[in-house]
């Protein structure tokens, strides 16, 4: 038996450590309160927020869709149907998880989790206000983009494991779309980052104390908004799940809670994309009179509103149009914008 796995030795070691180091328990308590409590409370808050956000956005989406078509949308369950998305969630929760026989079971099961987890991680660094942020990492922005890129792996795994031609085609489209649109996103974000010289979310917001970057970098803002809408796989860019051609794309075979995870991820992605936009270009929590978090949420939900309305306004792009837009329009413009920004920064400093 090695000394480390011997409980007697461990106990001896611990007592020795506490005797030699009287501050051990203080330190342990401090560590516990700093790390574990923050992690647990943060995670609970994030999961709660993700759920409430998704339910609220589903309600908003259906209502906005209805009112654009001059009809009241759902009215039956609860006052003006506001319990409808809750009931939908309950329905998805209690539904049987069907697994088709031909699927690759382990991959099939793990795909929704891979799609959903990056969403939770991205919420860690979203600055709701100066102090309302789970962890203010110095690479916050990078963390969001690094983990959002994982999303596409989950979609690919899900499409592949479903063993269904529509799912596979949807997944492949999703990969090529995400690879294409990741570039203009990162390039347009880069032009902000070289202005502020930081990737820390709070510092990015603090840099916009006087003037919002949407005024300094309008081209980057527009490019980011278009590319980010494409990144969330929403109409007009929902080619991976074009129901007219591909049934539901990569999630055709999913049901119950697994499908709900894809759904949650989509709506939370919408929030994250809008939150990053608000942080980078709209001055985050800055704003007169109202407190910071309210300003932040206000900006985010106005953007989400625009994304939702886009779904009911613009027709779906054809796949070659989508690629043309990314490679021939967004990327050259983003590069040119980055170049100009870099030159101007160099000349000013």
């Amino acid at each position: 038996m090695s000394p480390v796995s011997d409980p007697g030795f461990l106990l001896y070691f611990l007592t020795q450590a506490t005797e030699r180091e009287p501050g051990f328990w203080n330190w342990a308590f401090y560590w516990f309160s700093q790390e574990v409590v923050v992690v647990v409370v943060g995670l609970l808050l994030i999961i709660g927020f993700v759920t409430i956000n998704a339910i609220g956005l589903i309600y908003a989406e259906l209502k906005i869709a209805g009112h654009i078509q001059r009809r009241p949308a759902m009215m039956e369950v609860g006052w003006h149907g506001f319990l409808q998305p809750v009931m939908d969630a309950v329905k998805l929760l209690v539904k049987e998880l069907t697994t088709p026989t031909a699927v690759n079971r382990p991959l099939f099961v793990v795909a929704p989790v891979i799609v959903f987890l990056p969403v939770l991680i991205a919420f860690i660094v979203i600055p709701f206000s100066e102090r309302l942020i789970v962890r203010d990492l110095n690479l916050g922005l990078l963390l969001i983009f690094a983990f959002s890129a994982l999303n596409v792996i989950g979609i690919l795994i899900g499409g592949w494991a479903s063993n269904n031609k529509y799912s596979l085609l949807g997944a492949l489209r999703s990969v090529s779309q995400n690879v294409a649109y990741e570039i203009p996103i990162l390039l347009s974000v880069m032009s902000v980052v070289i202005m502020t010289n930081t990737l820390r979310m709070t510092e990015l917001v603090a840099a916009q104390e006087k003037v919002w970057f949407v005024l300094v970098q309008p081209v980057a803002a527009i490019l980011y908004f278009i590319a980010a809408t494409a990144e969330t796989n929403r109409l007009p860019f929902d080619i991976p799940e074009a129901e007219g051609e591909l049934v539901a794309g990569f999630h055709s075979e999913y049901s119950g809670m697994r499908f709900a995870l894809f759904f949650l991820a989509e709506y939370s992605n919408m929030f994250i994309v809008a939150a990053v936009f608000a942080t980078l270009f709209l001055g985050g929590w800055h704003g007169p009179i109202l407190p910071g978090p309210i300003w932040f949420l206000l900006k985010v939900y106005v953007l989400v509103f625009l994304v939702i309305v886009a779904r009911w306004t613009f027709p779906r792009l054809r796949f070659d149009q989508l690629m043309t837009l990314a490679w021939k329009v967004l990327i050259p413009f983003a590069l040119a914008n980055l170049l100009v920004t870099a030159l101007v920064i160099k000349l000013i400093r």
Partner: protein, 150 residues
Amino acid sequence: MKYFRNIIVGGWSLVLGYSVTIPEIFKPIITVQYPRQKLEMDVGYRGHIELVRLPGEDGHFCLACGTCERACPSKVIKIQGVKPKAGANKAGVMYLIDFSRCSLCGICVDVCPVDALRHSMAYDLAFYSRWDNVIDLVARFKEQQEQERS
């Protein structure tokens, strides 16, 4: 050049698209919640035919002449008439239409010599059996008259 023009035109079309849909959200709703609210049908509406009811008049005007029965292109009308007493006009006592095959063409309404027919306002007809589609207009007429009296 064409490249830049495309971008500008495309970008402007995005603005136009939003300017169409966003104001639409705030306009009043024009649909009704169907089973709870129902629309009043307009006078021009053509439902299945019914016998004309006039205020103050007791009874319908159908003479059971059979003109509508012969004119109906779908042959869905079946009339039975009796003479109440010798020398009097015949009167329809049974007027069946098979609504499932009626094309709502309105020829029966047009050809009736005494204008005894009109289109009804009934629009939400649904039945469990195809035989329920056979409506006796005289019975329906009497039922409605009873309802009006009570």
